[in-house]
């Protein structure tokens, strides 16, 4: 796997001694979750025994649709309540803490379906992300001198971020007039206004055009290089392989594998549960469309199925 060889590894160094098993201990975890369980009726959406997220690294959370990735995000950030379980962030227990306070503690998330505040300008979206604005108090709001100074700081910070995310030309536009990809960028930039120590991105690449993807990847990596911990959910394996230092795989609510990206993607359990045997094949390759290839793949699938059936029967006896 060539991606491995080119992978910048200084950030992967902390993982040198980490076991490649689900729930592995990390040298310096920023987020530790234990026994987090969430069921919707009879359907168990999340059942995570133990999860640690290494500080200052990019961790990818992957898994098939319905694996419970977003539900886990919701639980950890206070947007949903688990049936049981505990987790701590930076040493502080966060179970049962309201979403607003989770963000204040330094763990900020974005959403799979972007939540741009449509009828507010881009710059106001950004300003809203900033913490410690005294003018957000009802009484202080009436006395501008109390908050003008902080407002100027916030605006400067927002403008710098907008420039970095190439949104500075849209400064005064309503967020609702941005394209889907620009909204993703805006949401990420807005989350950064909080100066979070950990940012959780739910499918940051979904619906973003390839050119923008490249710059988003750059942004995420530079975040990590500045010391922010990144945890993201993503289906785009190229991206996962390209930027993540560590990969956690979920299936049916559980963590089924952990490891560095290259190795996890060779893990038989992960291939079976999620990736499929041909995850490395470029689907855009026209050669795949020929009858010959189709027949070969079909035969292969049949063989796999037969193999599985045989194993199943063997296990049954």
């Amino acid at each position: 796997m060539s991606a491995d060889a080119t992978h910048p590894s200084p950030s992967a160094a902390p993982f040198a001694d980490v076991e490649h098993v689900p729930g592995a201990k990390k040298p310096d975890p920023i987020l530790v979750a234990d026994g987090v369980h969430r069921a919707f009726g009879g359907m168990v959406a999340v059942d995570v025994d133990h999860l640690e997220v290494q500080r200052g690294a990019i961790t990818a959370l992957i898994g098939p649709n319905g694996a419970g990735k977003t539900t886990l995000f919701n639980l950890l950030t206070g947007f949903d309540k688990p049936d049981r379980g505990a987790w701590s962030f930076d040493g502080k227990p966060l179970a049962g803490v309201a979403a607003g306070n989770v963000a204040k503690a330094g763990m900020v998330r974005t959403f799979q379906l972007t939540k741009a505040l449509s009828r507010m300008t881009v710059i106001d979206n950004m300003r809203l992300g900033a913490p410690d604005q005294p003018g957000e108090n009802l009484l202080a709001a009436l006395v501008p001198p109390l908050w003008r100074g902080r407002e100027a700081e916030i605006t400067a910070q927002a403008d710098a971020l907008l420039e970095r995310f190439k949104l500075d030309t849209k400064r005064q536009d309503f967020a609702g007039s941005l394209s889907g990809g620009q909204r993703k960028l805006l949401e990420m930039a807005r989350a950064l206004m909080n100066g979070p120590s950990m940012i959780m991105l739910d499918e940051p690449m979904a619906g973003v055009n390839p050119a923008l993807t490249q710059s988003l990847l750059g942004h995420i990596q530079s975040l990590r290089d500045e010391g922010t911990t990144v945890l993201f959910v993503e289906h785009d394996m190229h991206m996962v392989r390209h930027i993540s230092d560590w990969v956690v795989v979920m299936a049916e609510g559980r963590i089924v594998a952990e490891g560095p990206p290259g190795e996890v993607m060779r893990d038989q359990a992960v291939i079976d549960a999620y990736l499929g045997a041909h995850h490395d094949t470029d689907l855009g390759d026209d050669a795949l469309l020929s009858d010959e290839v189709a027949e070969r793949l079909e035969a292969e699938a049949d063989a796999e199925q037969a193999d599985r059936d045989a194993k199943h029967e063997g296990g049954g006896r």
């Binding site: 309201a98 963000a103 709001a141 609702g176 206004m193």
Partner: protein
Amino acid sequence: MDWTRILANVVGEFFSPITAAYAIAAIGLNVHFGLTGLLNMGQAGFMLIGAYGFAITTLAGHSALTGLLVGLAASVVFALLLGMPTLRLRGDYLAIVTIAAAEIVRLVGRSTSMTWLTGGNAGIAGDGFKDAFHATCLLPEGNSTILFWTYSNCYSNSWWLRIVGWLAVALFCLLVWRLMNSPWGRVLKGIREDEDAVRSLGKSVYSYKMQSLILGGALGAIGGIFFSLPQAVQADSMGRPTTFFVWTLLLLGGAATVFGPVLGSMLLWAVLMLVKSVMRDVIPSTVLNTEQIEMFSFIIVGLTLMLLVIFRPQGILGDKKELAINVR
């Protein structure tokens, strides 16, 4: 047709105390709906609570200021009671609870068992509770005529009430303008757009929604006090239709704007007066009597408003660009 009289009537509506009262109540609703996206369908309940608080306190011999404070305090308690169970839920629930709560206030207020306090069905007649407000009057006794309009200086539907009422409108416009353009107002607007997003940015959404509900409700209570001062406190005069008038004129003027509620109130009542006055002169009483004309003019105004909301849903002062964005 006596155009001078009709015009005097119509223009008189522009600065009548009732217009001011509706404007203030609508400014409150604008804080709820325009700024925060809260669907308060019971603004009349807040108005009635404020009016009762003021009238009962001043009847007991206290000053107008004490009456105002009691009315405000009562509306704050009412807002807390309504908000605590509903503000954690999605918007529609608040709408249901507020309309029901406003009806409860009205029905309890008019019930026979409450006659000792609220005057029951008959309400609290003007003579008693207005004295405290008259006592604040800085104008000399007597009547004054300015152009076409003659009113008492201090008593009941007076010049003094107009002065105080419209000063209050101006003050509350200033207040809302200040708040709308502050970081506090920005958080509220964010909540209006998407409260989960605001939550994810580290704000306590529940607390902001509660503040908004209380502030808007308190403005509603003050509106209710001005509404009762030229007439009487009568539960049925502040029922569901009142809530819908407040909504109508807010949407007419333009929600989420500073002057929308004021312009909406002035226009709605002036146009209604124009339609009524003209019809009274034009239509013989054998075809439509006065009461029927009253109803008919509401129908015409209602129809006009429907057209307006269909073709200009952002209201008169609303921002077209803002509306072009399809929200969800």
